[in-house]
Subunit: 243 residues, 6 copies
């Protein structure tokens, strides 16, 4: 039994609030337990210069964290003069993950910029960001479709993300901060609704993971992602919640 | 009558949510109409090097804005590589304003760092920030007092801020974004609960302000600040709300 | 009586040398007592990109200080890698103040860049800068008019600036460095020749200012500005000096 | 058959030259086909400040690329003013990978800094860097042991890395630049000599990877890593080459 | 005959005003014709960290240029975010030149920081800077000697600098801006009072210089430096002027 | 006799490997004893903006050093956030030196970018860089001529560089690191094949150089450059080696 009372294969309570930000074309407050990430999608008429004239669109992401999202204060990146390597690594991951399910040609020469800002951090901020960014992106693209600027919503299938890890020798789903701090290894899985692998990032913190352990993490992730994709559909009104 | 239906001397609906951030020693979500600023107070054991060993404390502030707090997206400062002049100007103002009511000697060698992050921007972000930062600061200092780390709460009196401006020849209190964009001049007043002037920043946008117009702005500000100080006391449980 | 022997409402000796810089289109060495600021105006054919094609001009300012302008050496901003928040705040103030009296439409698509560099600092550098920048701007615009590039000099009225403060409970005009260091509060006033308010920046250093004290500062400022505007006119040859 | 004539499960010719750099405590020129990475290990007496006094050591890495290592010139990072997100991501990966096999407590308060500089780039630079960095690290630690500064070589087992990818539907080992550019997905595996998983980074470029495809990549990686670990041992003189 | 009426081997009118800056320990306004450089010497109690405890002092220099020192405006380095390569090259040259005549051991653990700021630029700013910096340094060190903080003035002999160049095939001394712009080659000579070579920087702009031409430049420089050293002595009151 | 057994007027063993880098249009590994500099020449279709449309080309250079090229590790410039003053000074020197022998008009609107990266540093890195950069530039331009993009190779004559210095009172050619560290003065000479002076940079480290000493250094440099120019010709296949 985990400190929180969750079973090894249980997600934290997930809440996806669509339209949380008043001015953005798409938005979602994505909460995995105490972790809260505000995801917005901004529609821009201009694609990056290396894409211009090619008829294709682009999806990109930026990530940030409020200084006091964390248990002790983290220095503000703007004040320090730039984004850390960790921040850049996470925002590149978010961008790649969302592009993997977007039909960029069907999008046309439009750029969607996803901003994922962590209001509160209790582990799993990047997975909450990806899961919420999909909802914000969907809302923005549905808006363009509704305005007849797109013939259809250019998304091939949903994408969501979850973390898993080995703590005290046991494979656990969706680590919170205190579990993550004690993990022997953790892994982030970004999977599509149909189970396709978009990204796997598995990292040993204190000792390498065996092939069997890794397979246990994969199985947990598949279960978790299925639940997250259902939550996304419910949030977007594409599915009625059973709960 | 203003677009919003407010009278010239009316504040927007004000909401001050104490304890909004789970991990900070003090926090307040400060809402002036659609403007929302999350203010947190972090207690640090270390004062800046030029103060060390002198027995005095320090209060400082940082200000930021989520990229999509605004009607159209504003580039992220961390990604651009630093804080703009405007951001630095605002955070220096917030810090000075709060230090003006803090007894730094009674605080002792402790630093309180105030983070004011704009979640949604509809005009008056710096005034909402100062008003909310006072609440967050009070909560953090009350906590230190409660833990017997301070003999009393080292605040001399409340401080709050409000903007005023001349729009279409008329003096208005607490401008929203669309009023601010059309103002001939605007002014930010930072006043204490007893009416003392902490800061005045009056700026002509399109033409200078007459001495009479300026006096009208001062009168509006005094009325607004009295209401804001009352709201702070209610939020902190120091006063029962009449409403 | 002040240390310098000045009365409370007296300016320091003011000297405005027009044409001090050999190569600039306009220039003025502006001296308020020991404070010396070299102001130059450079005419540029190109306005900022967001103004292009609109038929309007622009006036902007930059501020700097020689490292040994001050009693003890101040680190060079170029060597530290950028301008401090204080520098940016001052140069934004100078730019706004001069734009407030310039008819940007009559200027046409020309940019005037004002550089205000402090050669010696004894308090009041921003007010000496604004007062001198007006003279440099006038000289540059008069030159364009003389070359028939402008039908008239596109300035509506003069603008000048002065500081005031409360020292030992008394309101004083035009603080020098040692008075400024001991002030309870100080305020910078930017006023036009006809008494219009362009900017007021009033800041409490150690305790808030009462409404009466503030009115005393305003009265001092009005007197000081009238004298500075006269000095500007004499320097520009628009008025014969009585002295 | 691949363009290069290699079979799907064949590494490129691997060459690990120990002691390539004259002045470093450890070094290895690591070549995977045309890819050449110079890895050096520098012994430093000082650990990062957050580790001081704790009796533990540290291993960290930096990564760079000569501007003309690539087919067309890449702008120099030092001239552009900083390291790109990609560079930081890679150097963090190298550092984590090597720390995973180092007994930091047995190392004591010493820091080993690994510099991995790409002289020529034809795909797989990060995997060649990790594989070579292990050799450089081993040489540096063996030197400390030889000087009696360490009781033993504080490495638990070897670590090496290889890339795999799906190209034209087929799983291939150790992609070169032209294969990598056409891959549907690629994955970098960092494994220990005993088969433990240190890092997996699997990324879909154009479409998600199925669970079966991922298992095929894993199998290729295991084969490749076994060969690389043997090459490391031969290079370090711990094993006689059969070839 | 040169445009200015000078003969090929004549300096421009030289003016060295000692004590120009009110607050610095040493200062000199150094004018070579229209070129004006304000040089100040600041005494600091702290030497760079790599010198501490060794009993030796240090002399270092910084160089800057007011934006409108030049015929057309030059962007401000602090606003651009750093010093250009040219600026750094010049300030390193000034520092080396002055250290070459200073007895750093006799100076003791004191640092003298020389700031050379160009108020007006008409060619030869680095040579005017070195020549004036020597005067400012002498004044600062004489002050320390006068206060009994130094047993003697720790300077071995004077140092001065001058430029020469080949223009229209002729060797000329002390080029102004228009001559410099048309030079085939130019050279800066930093020599001591006794004729020792501290620095030579000879640069071909459009075609290489023959060995004979270079010797002609050397002869001009020797003549010019002798006159500059005399002007330094007169300015410092060590010699009575004949003129 | 020098530590290395060389006579005072002897170069270290020189090795110039043409075509060392596989992907660059021109390249040369330039070795002066233990000093190794990899020089590449990249052909770019675009000249700097201030040259566009003028029919002239440009040659520019960048310089870098691997962190562990040196006896003790030097911090990586990209990680520190920019190029040092020394690096900029050297790369400006390399660029000027190569432009001095290039007929930029005959080159036409093409830019050649020379990258000189030090793999191993034992003194004289800038002179090895210039000498090798000439070979890389020649190879790149010969390639353009061979492709009929240039009517001839637009180089007027060879250029090479060597250092000399005064060590223990004796003038020595081509200093290695240990000699350089003990030199009273050193000088870098950049001369053409016909003996023309492109650059001289002579710097006194501990005491000024007499005119006679300087002439001795010049004579050594002339001898050394003649040998380097011959080595360049042999490397480029323009001359048969006698050795």
């Amino acid at each position: 039994m985990r400190l929180s009372g969750r079973s090894a294969d249980a997600l934290r309570p997930v809440r996806l609030e669509v339209g949380f930000a008043r001015y953005a074309e798409g938005s979602c407050l994505s909460c995995f337990g105490e972790t809260q990430v505000l995801c917005t999608a901004s529609v821009e008429e201009k694609v990056p210069s290396w894409l211009r004239g090619g008829g294709k669109g682009w999806v990109t992401a930026e990530y940030g964290m409020l200084p006091r999202a964390t248990h002790t204060r983290t220095p503000r990146e703007a004040a320090r003069g730039g984004q850390s390597g960790r921040t850049q690594e996470i925002q590149r991951l978010i961008g790649r993950s969302l592009r993997a399910v977007t039909d960029l040609r069907a999008l046309g020469e439009i750029q969607i910029r996803l901003d994922c800002d962590v209001l509160q951090a209790d582990g799993g901020t990047r997975t909450a960001a990806i899961t919420g960014a999909y909802v914000a992106l969907y809302q923005a693209l549905a808006g363009l479709h509704h305005q007849n600027r797109l013939a259809r919503i250019p998304l091939r299938e949903p994408v969501a993300a979850v973390s898993c890890g080995i703590v005290d020798g046991e494979a656990l789903l969706d680590l919170d901060y205190s579990e993550d701090s004690n993990a022997q290894a953790d892994a982030n899985f970004v999977l599509t609704g149909s189970g396709g692998i978009v990204e796997i990032q598995s990292t040993a913190e204190t000792e390498p993971v065996s092939q069997e352990q890794f397979d246990a993490l994969r199985a947990l992730a598949s279960k978790g992602i299925a639940e997250l994709v259902e939550a996304q559909k419910v949030a977007l009104g594409l599915l009625r919640s059973d709960r």
